[in-house]
Amino acid sequence: MARPKLRLLTIFVLTALLLALGTAVLAQDEPVELRVVWWGSQSRHDRTIEVIEMYEAQNPNVDIVYEFANFTDYWTLVNTQAAGGDLACVMQHDYAYLAEWAERGLLQPLDPYVEQGIIDLSNVDESFIAGGRVDGLLYGLSLGSNSQAIILDVDKFEEAGVDLPDPQWTWADFEAIARELHDALGIYAYGSPSLGDDQIWTSLILAHGTNPFNEDNTGFGYDDDGPIIEHFKMLLRLQEDGVIMSLEEMAQSAEGPENSPIVTGDAAMQYQWSNQVVAITSAAGEGRNFRLWHMPRPEGGRPANYLKPSMFFSIPTNCEHGEIAADFINFFTNDLEANEVLFAERGVPISSEVREHLRPMLDAIGQETFDFLERVSADSSPIFPPNPPGYNDIRNNVWLPLFHDPVLYGQISVEEGVALFRAEAEAILSQN
């Protein structure tokens, strides 16, 4: 009875050994598998996949496996992967989460790769990559620069006989111009998305001269809620008079750039990050005349605009092929041909050489975006530090459901809402 068992065991062990040996031998010839993940629109998926194929053609030993999703699904995906310790070697990252991830030890600093010359930043100005630093270390390399903008439909302005605003316009100017547009055309001067979203809140605070959060992220960086109250009172006035789309109507309208009011011609202005303008203009089709404008600033305040890295590529700690990942990121950043394909879809490229190379090929809206970012870089506030841990919680469970929505639905007063917001948000921040 014992002997067959022993024989079986021997066979088993031998097979296992052989298999292990086999894979070890194979591994030397097998190409390195590099996983890349990103979020975005169809256009981004197509461009990115093409660049991945270009990289593979130049590096036959690297086999790139990729995954992509829309923004919401993407974070579900990578969070699940993070929990399982199975993140892709090259992952797209967002300014809102970068610091949180870096502080939790999920990402590698990229500085060693820069020092080794794998990532070449000789054509990159520090201001473009500063947003990727957490405590001085570079955890994400910006894939493009961005700023908040108001898209103006110039044809609608002409039709209404309203002059384009001053580049340094204020929210009071915005209100006056919006009313003029609405009175002249009978359409919404402004459609969606909400002019009260959390990123308008932070830029509003920035324009008033302080950072939204204090240095150790344990509370707000400002004491006066006046600017927020004033802003929301203006939104309520405009909403009530039908000058801007109400939140209730926004909740109802269909999603996607092709349904946004400025594209359908139901509104003359739209707030958007500059890198999303391409999606809006291509949804709008030929023959539209859009321009990008600074965000309105407070009377006598600083610019509400700041230069933000639109997204990063980061290398997670669990990645075993850091150098190959870094080489891929370098290719993405500096290769001229690759950038012809990517075509600033992720924001204005950080390499000056790439920018100069692309400029003559740009269409009208591309040139407008490049010009806009140059105007912003000349007239902007310094970017505030990445959002603190718990920002997500504040946005999803406090700003929107306890303040923004009830106020714009007219359920509670602005003062009441803002007091509740401060109390609840500071309770979350105090845990940092």
Partner: protein, 323 residues
């Protein structure tokens, strides 16, 4: 399978006794071996259950007492803090409870009534009735799907079919999904529309009712309402009870429809319990808190089911219990 008879010469009572004892011993051995085979057969399920159900369940029980963070994969034991926060601090938790209870309170009875009504209609011997049965069951096959939820969103959108129809009759377009008063009703309506599975069970129940009962009632001159009230309904109460429990449980677990159609809005009026759990777990990564909320949901469902069983003595009629 029967045992092969042991080849033993039959001679004397003693031998017979010995033989039967031996047989008994062998039988118990075979019984064990048979059990082993049985366990082997169900082992895929058992492994699946232990690995993918029991372990996660126990883990979530542990998580409920921690502040486990999905992003970093770390958490500390924090005692009852999650529950304290849920009941005393979290404003949205109260909102999600009231949205869920409202949804269950309306969608479950309405769906049962609708299912029973359609089952009665289809419990006839008319031509084509099989076709209708299949047709009415289809919404519940596809009803839970994302595609139908997307369609629902379109139907009730501001440019949707529903507003187009009401406009024909001269009504102003209504913001069905954007209005905090109406949004939850679009979801209740969607739930009622998916009446197929309780309907099939009702149908089976209706066919169980002996036709003599109806004949007897007819001889007594009962109207069709009286037949329904005094024959159909009492004999159907066990089925109604079963459907009630099943629908109650699934009602509390509603997720997909609200996730796609309203995403919990407007003003959290459709922030159903599971939607909120999902948001806490996967948008805010507070897995500990989400696990604690899930266990409270389990408790709520268990308590309500227990109450339903306790109350069932008063109205559910079992034919076998008393003549």
């Amino acid at each position: 399978m029967t045992e092969p008879a042991a080849a033993v010469p039959a001679s004397g009572a003693e031998q017979v006794a010995l033989q039967s004892r031996g047989l008994a011993r062998r039988k118990s051995k075979d019984f064990k071996r048979n059990n082993l085979v049985g366990y082997l057969f169900i082992s895929p399920w058992l492994i699946g259950f232990f690995l993918f159900a029991l372990v996660p369940i126990l883990m979530s029980l542990w998580l409920a007492f921690t502040n486990f963070d999905l992003l970093s994969g770390r958490g500390e034991f924090i005692g009852l803090a999650n529950f304290e926060r849920m009941f005393f601090q979290d404003i949205r938790y109260g909102r999600s409870l009231s949205a869920t209870f409202k949804y269950v309170a309306f969608s479950v009875p309405l769906r049962l009534i609708f299912a029973l009504a359609v089952a009665m209609l289809l419990n006839t011997k008319r031509r084509g009735v099989y076709w209708f049965r299949a047709a009415y069951y289809i919404p519940s096959i596809i009803g839970g799907s994302v595609a139908v939820a997307v369609m629902w969103r379109q139907l009730f959108g501001s440019q949707g079919v529903i507003n187009a129809i009401t406009a024909l009759v001269g009504f102003e377009p209504v913001n069905w999904l954007g209005n905090p008063q109406t949004a939850i009703w679009t979801l209740i309506l969607l739930a009622v529309w998916q009446f197929g599975s309780p309907m099939l069970i009702f149908l089976a129940g209706l066919r169980q009712i002996p036709s003599e009962m109806y004949e007897a009632a007819e001889i007594d001159g009962a109207s069709s309402w009286a037949k329904f009230r005094h024959v159909t309904l009492p004999l159907l109460t066990p089925i109604i009870f079963f459907n009630l429990i099943m629908q109650l449980i699934s009602g509390f677990k509603v997720f997909t429809q609200a996730f796609v159609v309203t995403s919990g809005g407007p003003l959290d009026t459709t922030l159903f319990y599971t939607l909120y759990v999902y948001g806490r777990a996967f948008s805010n990564f507070q897995m500990g808190y989400a696990a604690a909320m899930s266990w409270i949901l389990l408790l709520i469902i268990a308590v309500l089911t227990a109450i339903a069983f306790r109350l069932s003595d008063r109205w559910v009629f079992y034919e076998t219990k008393e003549g």
